[in-house]
Every structure is written in C-alpha cells, then in structure tokens.
C-alpha cells in the first residue's frame, strides 16, 4: 500500500506533535490508532457476500450468521482498543552499533491488563513478537543500521491484533535518547606510528604489531595509562607494575580526515579509520584524530576511542537513518 510509505502511516511532524518523544509512555486514546487489519477487511467482504447471498436466496439463517459475524466484528473493535490502552512502555537507550549491524532498542513493557501478542517493529523491518499477559516484559525492537551518524531514536511501531486479528491497533512510540551508529569498519593496514599525515588511499603498511599478549612487567611510571597497571600484582603487594605489551609503542599514531574529503571516498576513509581505531584501542595504543579542524589529542583510553568513533560517525553526517 502506497500510504504506508516507509512503514509510516502519518508524517513525522504530525506524529511528533501527537505522540511526543518520551522515555516512558502509557498508551491512551491520543496515542492509539485502530483500523481493520487486512484480514478484517476480508472478513467484512465475507460478511457482505453472505448478506447478498442471504438476501438473494432469502435465507434467514445465513442472514443470522452474517449478523452474528458483524456482532463479533463490532466487539472486536472495542476489545482490541480496550486491550491496548493502558499499556505502559519504557524505551531504554540503545547501545551504539556499526553500520550493517542490528540496532537493539530495549523496551520494558508493563502489561497490566493487556493480553495477546504484541508486535514490535521499526520501519516495518524485522518484527519481534512477545506474548503479553499481566506481566512485565523485557524485550527489544530491532532494526538494521544502514547509515552512520547520530540520530533521534526511530519510531517503534507497537501493534496488537487482539482478540481475533480483525482489528489492528497500533502506536508509534519513540524515546528522546539519541541513537548512535558508527561507520562500518573496513579492513585495512594499520599505519605506522611515525606517519604524520594519512591521506585517503595512502595508508602505509606498518610492521605487524597486532600481538595482544603482554610480555613483561616493569615499574610503573607516572603518565602511563592506568589500565596497564597490573592490579593483580599490586594487590599481592609487589608494588605498582606496568604491563608492557609486545608491539606496544608509546609513540602515537595520527589519524587524519581531511576537510575536503567528501562522498564515497569520505565514507570509505571513515570506515577504514573506524577499523584502525578498533584495532588500536584493542592494542591500547595511543592515537590522535584530526577531523578537519577538530582535533582529538592522543590517548589510548577506551573513552578516547569512543569519543573518536562518535566523531567519525557524526562527521559530515548525511540525513542519517
């Protein structure tokens, strides 16, 4: 159906006004849309057919059956709505993912008087079904991340077909929390530490330094990263020691995204840098990142790599997801 463009029945603007973004929502008449489902429409068609046949054959029993089915249909409307209203949902923040992975938006559903199946989907993608029934349910809506960047949490369509599938009650809910999607990592050689500028396509191969195991302990010097301290040994009372890794280099690697880079080339470069950052942070090697005018000073903490990844994700961000 054409009107369900992008799986959305209504414009975003209108939706934002009608159902404001909020983390917790108790569904009320403002938030609920209800229409006969496709099955319901066929069911109505059957009722009409029965009515015509009953009239033409002057068959009262068929007419009675037709009215009975109409009664069931009518009741279904109320039951579907009544069952859905009062459902309380809490949307939790989704952890960042890479492009091509599945975004999981955790949901806590408080279904005090709701029964039947509840379906959750984003943009009509993979639907998740849960069975409600006087309980709290922890579940998640899922969606494929297709674009990098930081966006608003997409609207989650939450539906119910209770009780007979004749009606389709739904709401489009969204939280205020942002959704972060990093660029997809693309495998590439890790640049050497002394590389000063790293332009697109110029990643130079460096000596293999990807061994993860540490090979010795040496006394700690101030300034060295805290997470390299061998806490176990310190607890044993052997003093503050620092784990030294093979391939560990205190020299930092400079990663640069030139300002003039755009389009596919930029995307490719960002993906490669993402890969590099992932590897480097695994090896706990310090690196610095220059994104056009922005500069992130060298560091090797997890926080630093997260900040850098986020910066890569949001750099010259397109329309987003």
């Amino acid at each position: 159906m054409k009107i369900f463009k992008n799986g959305r029945f209504f414009s975003n603007h209108w939706l934002n006004k009608r159902i404001p973004r909020q983390d917790e929502i108790t569904l009320s008449h403002r938030h609920i849309f209800i229409l006969p489902s496709r099955f319901g429409a066929s069911y109505v068609g059957l009722c009409i057919l029965l009515f015509v046949m009953a009239t033409n054959f002057q068959n009262n029993l068929m007419l009675l059956l037709c009215y009975f089915l109409v009664g069931i249909f009518l009741l279904s409307l109320f039951r579907c709505y009544q069952n859905f209203v009062g459902l309380t949902l809490r949307i939790q923040s989704a952890s960042p993912v890479f492009v091509g992975e599945t975004v999981t938006i955790p949901l806590l559903i408080k279904a005090e008087s709701t029964l039947g199946q509840i379906k959750m989907s984003i943009n009509n993608q993979t639907a998740v079904f849960v069975n409600a029934g006087n309980s709290n349910i922890t579940t998640a809506a899922k969606m494929l991340a297709t674009y990098r960047g930081q966006t608003q949490c997409p609207r989650i369509k939450i539906e119910s077909f209770y009780p007979l599938g004749l009606f389709h009650c739904w709401s489009m809910i969204a939280s205020d929390q942002p959704l972060l999607v990093y660029p997809a990592p693309v495998k590439c050689p890790i640049p050497a530490a002394d590389v000063t500028t790293l332009k697109q396509g110029e990643t130079q191969s460096a000596p293999t330094q990807d061994k993860e195991e540490y090979y010795q302990l040496r006394p700690h010097q101030t300034g060295e990263p805290l997470h390299h301290i061998a806490w176990k040994q310190m607890a044993m009372g052997r003093g503050t020691l620092t784990k030294q890794f093979s391939g560990y280099s205190s020299q930092n690697i400079r990663l640069i995204v030139p300002n003039e880079l755009t389009g596919l080339a930029l995307e490719k470069h960002l993906s490669e840098l993402t890969f590099i950052i992932l590897i480097l942070s695994q090896q706990q090697q310090p690196f610095s990142l220059q994104l056009g005018d922005k500069f992130f000073d060298a560091d090797n903490t997890e926080w630093h790599s997260k900040v850098c990844l986020k910066a890569l994700a949001t750099w010259k961000q397109n329309d987003g997801i």
């Binding site: 068959n59 029993l61 009215y67 089915l69 009544q82 069975n131």
Partner: protein, 661 residues
C-alpha cells in the same frame, strides 16, 4: 510448531463442514479433502514428516480443475463453485504453512459453513453449524493469543458470543428484510415435493417421504378434512404419457409478476390462514379453493393457482384468504379450448370406451357420473406400489391393471372427460394433513395428491376426485389408512416416527418435534417482513412508517446500550490504590506548572525540591498529599479519605494558579 492446536482445530472444522455438505460435493472432491485433512493431521501429530512437493501439488491441482470443469456443467453453477472452493481448500490444507494461509483457510471455512445453510435449515443442522463457527472462532482466537490457556480462551470466547448473539438477533428482527437483489443461479438441491410434470408413477414416489411439505395455521376455524384439497398446480397438457403445464401459462405467470395482480372475483365465507412452506426450488404455493393472497410476493393467476415471485429456495411464509363458497367459474374461451386438447393417437380402447359412454349419457353430469361409476364398479385398487405402465398408460390402467395411485386415477379420468368433449384438467397438490395444536395443520409429502377439475357451463370448474370413489379411506383418514392393507406406507423410511403413531409417547414426542419445527420455520427460517410488521403492530399498535422507523432506531439503540454495558463491564480496572492515584495526579498538576519530577528523584527528593523551589502555599498543600502518600506506602493505610484528597487536589490547583499570577 506452537500453532498446532489451532491448525488441528481448523482442519477438523473444515473437514466437518464439508462432510455436512456431502450431498452437494462431488465424491472425489470430498475424498481429496479428506485425504489432505489426514495428511495435515498426521503432519501436525508428527507421524509423518514429508509433505507433498509443490510440483506434485500443482499437477494435481491442474488435473482436478480440468475434471471439475468437465463435471461442472452437469451440477450447476453454484454447486460447481462450491466444489471449486472446497477443492482449493483441500490444496491449501496440505500447504498450510504461514499466518496468511491460516487466515485464508479460516475465512474459506467460514464461507463453506455458511453455504451449508442453503441446503440444511433444520434446528439440528443449525446447532451443528453454530458449533463449527464457534470452533472456528476459537481456532482464530488461539492463533492470535498463542500463550493463553484453554479455559482463558473459552471464557473470552463465551463473552464475545454472548455479546454477538443478542446483537445479531436484534439486527435480524429490526433491519428490513430485503427482497432478492438479483436472480441467483439455481442450486441443484435434491428437492422433494411435486414436480412440474405429472408422470403417474412420480407421485407415488413423492408419497414415500414423511418430510413436511408445509404447515398452515388458521385464524379461526379449521375446515373439515374432506375440504382440505390444497391446490398447487394445474396441469392442462396431456401428451399421452404425462401431464404438464402449458407454456402459455408459464408466460402468463411471468407477465403477472411485473404487471398488476390478478384478482379473482370472490364472495361468501372465507378462511384466513398463514402457510409456512418448505423449500422446493419452484414457485408453487399451496392454497384451498379460490384463494386471494395477502402477502405481497404471492401472485394469483387465472388458473386459480398461487405462485411465489421467487423460487422457494428457503422456507417462506405467506398469508392467504380462501373463499370456499366461491365457484371457480372464471375461464376464457382459450382455457376451454386448451382443456380439450388431446394427443392425436394412442390409448385406442379408452377412446372407444369414451365414445360409448358419451353415446349413452347425453348431459355433462351424466357423463361424469358414468366415468366415476366405472371406477367404482370395476374393482379398482388404490395402491402405493402400482405396476409400471410404459405404453398406452390409460388403456393399461383402465382395462388391465386396475391398480394405481391417485395420479393414475386423475390422469385417466381427465383424459376420458376430454375424449367426451368436457373440458377437464388435472390438479396436483396435497390432500388432508395432520391436525396440530392451535388451529394448525401439517401437510407432509405423503399427502401428495392429484384430482380432476371438469368444466360445467353453470358452475365453472368443479372438483372430482376419482381416488375418493375407489378408496374413501384416503379422503377420510389419509394415506396410511388407505394403503394399510398392503403395508406400503413409508416402506423406504422404516424408522420414521410417522410409523409409530400408535405408540403414545412416541407420537407425543413426534408432535412436540413438529411443534418446535413449526415455530422454528415460521419465526426463524421463514421470518420475513410480515412477521416483522406483526411484531411492530404488537408493540406500537399499528405498523405505520414512523413506527417502523422508531422500531429500527430502538433496536439499534438497544445494541448501542449493550455495547456500552459491555465496555463498562470490561473496563480495565485501575490497579493503583486511591492514595497513589491522587499522589500521581498531584505530580501531574505540578509538572504542568513547571515542577517536574526527574526519573532519578524519589518521592522524598522531590519533596525537598518542592520545599525549596515552590511558594509556601503550594508546598503546604503538597506536604499534606506527600505525607498521605508516604503514610500509605509505609503504614499501608492512607491518612486521608478520598473525599479529602480530592479537595486537597482542588486546593493545589488553586494555589498554583494564584501563586503564578
């Protein structure tokens, strides 16, 4: 697969609904369905793992379609459509895989069940079909609510049904019952009853059935038994073998449907009665003597015959006035010529016999008496098991066998009268009936009868029943007595309760069933505008247009009322106690005025926030609400009454408004 339960139920529903349509479905179609049902069930029970491949299935489907197309011509459009649907369901059943298949199949099953009503309208059939519909709804429900237990689902379904039944009854009673919108292709049902031609052997076959033909309920008095000649159709053409209606009459009947009604001239006393007629697939209706219809869709015609505007595909009821003192004296010269027509040859002995009788008896009266006299004197026998008379039927019957059913007598007598120059015709219908309580007469198929009408210049068409001359028992007591000597009554239905009239309790049981059937047929199956208007008259005194409108609106109002009651009764109960409810309400009001409680804030933190950030009057009110809430949470009992809380909320709103302005 978690959906086993509902799939199994759906399969059973489909199988049962088709088994109930056994007469209508082609044998191989039902066979195919049963096989696919067995395959489905064994797949569901995991006794079989391999389903049929799509390719085999497609091949089978094409083959079946070709065969069905071939036979479709013979069984009529409606029946072949139904067969086609069942066939499609059978294939779908094998490939029942996803959600969509399930829904499609359930709708088709619902339709097949509904089609069952076209063929069976007895109470027992309706009970059976209702159970099927309920089972189907149950399957649907458990499909959409897979995690619920059976008792849960049952209560839910019972709730829905108990809502839908009164609604459907109200709609049924209140909504106008429309006439057919257009002519539907005929259903080739196995109909019992009179046919539109009369082969002497046919009627004795009809008389083997104990099925109800119609019931008539008289308003005041009942006619005597010998007056109960229910005219159905007039046969005016004899071709030497069978009597039939003249094509001109059929055209006339069609014309009468569209032009204004024909009204016979009537006078004298009358009976007024309503008839509930069982479906026959034909337009024939039944009435006594000269009848004028009261119901709209009944048409009288110049043969003093009543017909329905539409074929009787389901039970209908109509109202008639019979003027039993009025002679049937209207006939055109065409009628008289038509009723003298004879086949050019055949039956030579009868021709000679008629010539001889005519020579001996000069007047019409004498001629007729002479013919009847012949039947009386020649030791004729009334029998339900007459011999077959393929050639020169009249000769064989009159001069050799002398044993026949009423049709033989009527056919031969009318032939003899025509040979003697007296316009005569055969009338078929029913004679007699069984008296029921409440001025009601039930007429069964075995009451089928045929007699003769002969034209007299002065009296018009006069009824002569040669059967009554031969077997007065038939006239006075009915068929059972008349054929008691040969034990041929209902030989094909050995267990019919009709045969046990002598056993008192069985007979009472039978009469009670008949009573129930009558009620069912007149108020449910045959319910139409007439009954609707009678209900309206009973409520409002008269059935004017305003009253009809009021009635319909009233019924719709009651439906809305039922809906409202239903919604109100099923309102989700607020589970939070009063103290919590009012506290949350207070938070909402405060939020509106800019004092929002953060997620991280507990009630105590929030209390502190209000204390520091809001004006004193606001805080004072909130303090009381807060204390009440805390008291409830920790002491388990609120310190304020709900009334007091309400007042506090009002106060809170007030102070917030004044403090901000």
């Amino acid at each position: 697969m978690a959906s086993n339960r509902q799939q199994l139920l759906l399969t059973c529903c489909l199988l049962l609904s088709c088994i109930a349509l056994f007469d209508v479905l082609l044998i191989w179609v039902s066979g195919l369905l049963i096989i696919s049902g067995i395959i489905r069930i064994s797949l569901l029970r995991h006794t079989q793992k391999h389903t049929i491949t799509q390719r085999t299935l497609n091949l089978l489907a094409v083959l079946s379609l070709v065969v069905l197309f071939w036979y479709g011509w013979q069984i009529g459009l409606m029946n072949s459509m139904l067969n086609l649907l069942v066939l499609a369901c059978a294939f779908k059943l094998i490939k029942l895989e996803n959600h969509k298949d399930f829904l499609q199949l359930s709708l088709s099953t619902l339709f097949i069940i509904a089609c069952g009503f076209m063929f069976y309208q007895q109470i027992i059939a309706v009970v059976f079909y209702s159970l099927l519909v309920i089972a189907l709804l149950f399957a649907l429900q458990s499909h959409f609510q897979p995690n619920r237990t059976l008792p849960d689902l049952s209560t839910e379904l019972i709730k829905q049904i108990s809502f839908a039944i009164p609604v459907s009854l109200l709609l049924f009673i209140a909504l106008p019952h429309l006439p057919p919108l257009w002519q539907m292709p005929g259903m080739n049902q196995a109909q019992s009853g009179l046919s539109d031609t009369l082969n002497p052997g046919d009627l004795s076959r009809v008389a083997q059935s104990a099925e109800l033909a119609f019931s008539a309920e008289f308003q005041q008095k009942l006619p005597t038994r010998t007056q109960l000649y229910w005219r159905a159709q007039v046969m005016e053409v004899f071709n030497g073998k069978q009597w039939s209606r003249h094509p001109y009459r059929l055209r006339q009947q069609q014309q009468l449907q569209f032009s204004q009604h024909y009204n016979p001239r009537v006078f004298g006393e009358h009976y007024r009665y309503s008839v509930v007629a069982q479906p026959t697939g034909m337009n024939l209706l039944y009435a006594l003597d000269v009848a004028t219809p009261v119901s709209d869709d009944v048409i009288a015609n110049p043969s003093y015959q009543l017909t329905s505007k539409f074929p009787l595909v389901s039970t209908i009821s109509y109202e008639v006035i019979s003027w039993y003192q009025t002679p049937l004296d209207q006939a055109s010269s065409f009628d008289l010529v038509l009723n003298l027509q004879l086949p050019p040859n055949g039956n030579p002995r009868a021709r000679a016999f008629a010539k001889q009788l005519a020579a001996n008896n000069p007047t019409v009266q004498q001629k007729i008496r002479a013919v009847l006299q012949y039947y009386k004197q020649q030791s004729f026998v009334y029998s339900l098991q007459p011999d077959v008379m393929p050639d020169n039927m009249v000769d064989t019957f009159l001069f050799e066998k002398k044993k026949g059913f009423c049709a033989h007598y009527a056919a031969s007598m009318a032939y003899l009268l025509r040979l003697m120059g007296i316009p005569a015709r055969v009338v078929t219908g029913y004679m007699g009936g069984e008296n029921q309580s409440g001025n009601r007469i039930n007429v069964y198929q075995f009451d089928a009868h045929a007699w003769v009408e002969a034209w007299h210049e002065d009296k018009g068409w006069v009824r002569y029943d040669p059967t009554a001359v031969v077997s007065p028992e038939r006239l006075l007591y009915g068929l059972e007595q008349a054929v008691a000597y040969e034990n041929s009554f209902l030989t094909e239905q050995p267990f019919s309760l009709m045969k046990f009239k002598s056993v008192r309790w069985l007979n009472q049981l039978r009469l009670a069933f008949a009573q129930m059937d009558y009620w069912w047929n007149s108020w449910v199956v045959g319910f139409n505008q007439r009954q609707q208007l009678s209900i309206i008259s009973a409520i409002f005194g008269s059935a004017t247009l305003t009253n009809i409108g009021l009635f319909t609106l009233g019924a719709l109002g009651i439906i809305l009322f039922i809906v409202a009651v239903y919604i109100w009764k099923n309102k989700p109960k607020s589970t939070s106690p009063v103290a919590v409810k009012y506290y949350l309400h207070a938070l909402k009001i405060l939020k509106k005025h800019g004092y929002q409680r953060q997620y991280s804030q507990g009630p105590e933190d929030y209390y502190q926030q209000i204390k520091t950030s809001s004006p004193l009057p606001v805080f004072n009110v909130f303090k009381r609400l807060h204390n009440n809430y805390m008291h409830y949470q920790y002491a388990g009992k609120p310190s304020m009454s709900p009334k007091r809380l309400k007042a506090e909320l009002k106060q809170l709103k007030h102070v917030l408004r004044t403090s901000q302005s």
